[in-house]
C-alpha cells in the first residue's frame, strides 16, 4: 500500500507536507512550467498594503552552500494582488496561503481586511521580518511585543487560520513564538532568513546594494532545525518548518523536530522542479521504511 503523505494543519488538508516558501517560487507564474496541483499548499510572496518597488540591484549574493537576498519585499500591493494574482491562483487545488507583510501594525490590519473579503484564501502567513518603522526599523519579529501587536491586529480581522513566520535573528525564538501564539497565531512558520552580508574584495564593496541580506539555503538548515525543535517543545500549535530543505530526508528531519509541514525556498531557486522530486522521494522513503503515514514522523524525535 502507498504510504499516506497527507497532513492537516489548522484545518488545512494538505495532500503532502511540501509547499514553497514565500518569495522563492513564482505564484502565479510557475503554472507555466509545471503542474502546481501536486504541491501540498501554495504560498505567495509577501504582500503589503501598498505596492513596494523593492531594493536596487544587486539583490542576490551567492555564499557557500547558501545565498543572500535583499529583494526588499517587492510586490504590487494588496489591491493589485487581489485583482490579478488571486484570480489566477484560485484555480489551483492546494490550499492557498497568503503571506502578509507590513511596516506598521495598521498596514497589516488593513491588508488583512482587504484580503478577508476575498474567496479562495485558506490561511495567512504573517511575515514579521519586515522593519517596524514605528519602532526604529528593527523587525517586528525581533520583539515579542511587536510580534504580538501584529498578530493580534490580524487575528481580530480574520476567521482564517494564521501562521506567524518567525525570524531566527533573535536571542530567544521560543519567547517570540509564545508571544505569537498568545496573540492568537494558529500556527507558526519558521524560519525566515538569517541576517548576513557578503563582500567583494576586488571592489572593496558589499555585494548587495542593500549591504545586508537574508541568508538562506542548505547552510542554514542546522539553525532552522534547532529553532523548530526548540519551539515545538514549547508550544502546542502546528509548525511549518523551513530553512535549507532540499531533499526528502531534510523534510523528515524537520518533521522529526516537530514540524507538521515544510516549505522549500532556496532549493526552488536552484531547481524549480525540486518539490515534485522531494514529494516522490518522500513517498519512496516511507514505503521502503514501512511507514504507513508521514505523520508518524511528526515530533517523533527520540532524545533519550
Amino acid at each position: 500500500m502507498k504510504p499516506d503523505l497527507g497532513v492537516e494543519i489548522c484545518g488545512l488538508k494538505l495532500k503532502n507536507p511540501v509547499m514553497p516558501s514565500s518569495g522563492s517560487f513564482g505564484l502565479p507564474g510557475y503554472e507555466e512550467y509545471m503542474d502546481l496541483n501536486g504541491l501540498g499548499a501554495l504560498v505567495v510572496k509577501s504582500i503589503t498594503l501598498h505596492p513596494r518597488a523593492g531594493n536596487p540591484p544587486p539583490r542576490i549574493a551567492e555564499t557557500t552552500a547558501g545565498m543572500l537576498n535583499a529583494v526588499g519585499i517587492q510586490n504590487p500591493g494588496v489591491k493589485w494582488f487581489i485583482k490579478n494574482d488571486l484570480q489566477r491562483l484560485r484555480r489551483f487545488t492546494p490550499p492557498l496561503i497568503v503571506s502578509i507583510a507590513g511596516t506598521t501594525v495598521e498596514e497589516f490590519a488593513q491588508a488583512t481586511e482587504l484580503l478577508e473579503k476575498e474567496e479562495g484564501i485558506a490561511a495567512y502567513e504573517i511575515n514579521v521580518s519586515c522593519p517596524n518603522i514605528e519602532a526604529g526599523g528593527r523587525a517586528f519579529g525581533m520583539s515579542a511585543a511587536a510580534t504580538q501587536a501584529v498578530v493580534a491586529a490580524v487575528k481580530e480581522r480574520t476567521r482564517r487560520p494564521i501562521f506567524t513566520k518567525l525570524t531566527p535573528n533573535v536571542t530567544d525564538i521560543v519567547e517570540i513564538a509564545q508571544a505569537a501564539v498568545e496573540a492568537g497565531s494558529d500556527g507558526l512558520t519558521l524560519i525566515n532568513t538569517l541576517l548576513g552580508m557578503a563582500i567583494d574584495v576586488k571592489l572593496r564593496r558589499p555585494v548587495l546594494a542593500n549591504v545586508f541580506g537574508g541568508l538562506s539555503g542548505p547552510a542554514i538548515k542546522p539553525v532552522a532545525l534547532r529553532c523548530v525543535y526548540q519551539v515545538a517543545q514549547a508550544v502546542k500549535v502546528p509548525i511549518i518548518g523551513t530553512g535549507g530543505i532540499s531533499s526528502a530526508t531534510d523534510v523528515l528531519e524537520f518533521l522529526l523536530a516537530g514540524a507538521s509541514a515544510v516549505q522549500v525556498g532556496t532549493a526552488n531557486i536552484v531547481d524549480p522542479y525540486i518539490m515534485p522530486k522531494i514529494i516522490a522521494d518522500l513517498e519512496k522513503y516511507l514505503e521502503e521504511n514501512n511507514a504507513a503515514s508521514v505523520r508518524e514522523y511528526i515530533g517523533a524525535l527520540k532524545t533519550h
Binding site: Y30, P58, I60, N268, I269, V270
Partner: protein, 262 residues
C-alpha cells in the same frame, strides 16, 4: 512547458584569452530557443557553487539538435564549466527570457556588442541572415584577442567594424560616428546592443534621434531565472514612473527607451 533539459556536451574548447566555446546536444531546447534567450546552467552537481549561471545562446542549430554558448571564465562557476569534458551531461533550464524582437521584414539591422556581450548578437545575426536581413556589426573589445564572433559574422556576409581599447579606437567619441553612420544607412530598421552600458547609452540617444527601434540585452545576477524570486531587478521607466522589472523573465532583452541605464 518543462524547461528542464539535460545537455550532452559535445565540445568545450578553449578559445584563448579565457574564452570558451561550448557545444551541446539538446534537440528540444535547440528547437524551442530564440536568439536573445538564455539557458541557466548548473555548472557542477554540488552546493558550491549553489546557484545556476545564465548564458545567452551564441548559436542555435536545431537541425543538428545543438545549442552553443560562448563564455568567459570569470569566477567559480565558469571555471568549473571550463573543465567539463565532451560527453558530460549538464543540467540546464531553458530557453528562458524574452529574445530579440527581430522584425521579419527588416531590410537591415545594426548589432553593437562589446566583449562577451557580443555572444547573443551572433545568434541574432545568424537568424537575420537566414531570413535575408542584412546586418551591420560594430564590435568592441579590450583587444583583438577578446573580440567575439567577428570572423563568423564576416563568413555570413556581415559587414563587421571592430574597435579595441588597445588600438585606441573604442572610445565613445570615436564609436559615435560609426554607430550614427550605420543607423543612417538606408533600410536600417532595428538596432541591438549588448555588453556595455556606455554603448547602450550611446545607441539609445542616436537611435531615439532617428526613430529607430533599439533594444538592449541586460545582465544582472540571477537566482531562479524563471521570474519567481525577483532578485534580477533592472530599473525601467513605465507610464506610472520608475520601477523594477525582471531581467530573467521580462528581459533580458528590453526596448532601450524603457531601460534606465545607471
Amino acid at each position: 512547458m518543462n524547461v528542464s533539459h539535460t545537455l550532452t556536451v559535445t565540445k568545450n574548447e578553449d578559445q584563448g584569452a579565457g574564452y570558451f566555446h561550448l557545444v551541446a546536444q539538446a534537440p528540444e531546447l535547440a528547437r524551442a530557443a530564440r536568439p536573445g534567450q538564455f539557458i541557466h546552467v548548473h555548472c557542477a552537481p554540488s552546493v558550491d557553487p549553489l546557484l545556476r549561471r545564465p548564458f545567452s545562446f551564441y548559436r542555435l542549430r536545431p537541425e543538428a539538435g545543438e545549442v552553443e554558448i560562448y563564455y568567459q571564465v570569470v569566477g567559480k562557476g565558469t571555471h568549473l564549466l571550463s573543465r567539463i569534458r565532451s560527453g558530460t551531461k549538464l543540467d540546464a533550464l531553458g530557453p528562458l527570457g524574452q529574445g530579440f524582437p527581430l522584425d521579419r521584414k527588416a531590410q537591415r539591422i545594426l548589432i553593437l556588442g562589446r566583449g562577451m556581450g557580443t555572444a547573443p548578437l551572433i545568434a541574432l545575426a545568424e537568424a537575420a541572415r537566414t531570413q535575408g536581413t542584412e546586418v551591420s556589426a560594430i564590435l568592441s573589445a579590450r583587444n583583438s584577442a577578446t573580440l567575439v564572433g567577428d570572423r563568423l559574422l564576416a563568413s555570413w556576409g556581415v559587414e563587421v567594424i571592430t574597435v579595441t581599447d588597445e588600438s585606441g579606437t573604442s572610445a565613445p567619441e570615436k564609436v559615435e560616428p560609426l554607430v550614427a553612420a550605420a543607423l543612417d544607412r538606408p533600410g536600417t530598421a532595428q538596432a541591438f546592443v549588448c555588453g556595455s552600458r556606455r554603448l547602450a547609452r550611446l545607441l539609445k540617444r542616436l537611435a531615439a534621434a532617428r526613430g529607430i527601434p533599439a533594444f538592449v540585452s541586460l545582465e544582472e545576477r540571477m537566482g531562479c531565472g524563471l521570474g519567481g524570486c525577483l532578485v534580477c531587478a533592472c530599473r525601467v521607466r513605465t507610464p506610472e514612473g520608475e520601477t523594477y522589472k525582471r531581467v530573467c523573465k521580462d528581459g533580458p532583452v528590453f526596448p532601450l527607451e524603457e531601460v534606465v541605464l545607471g
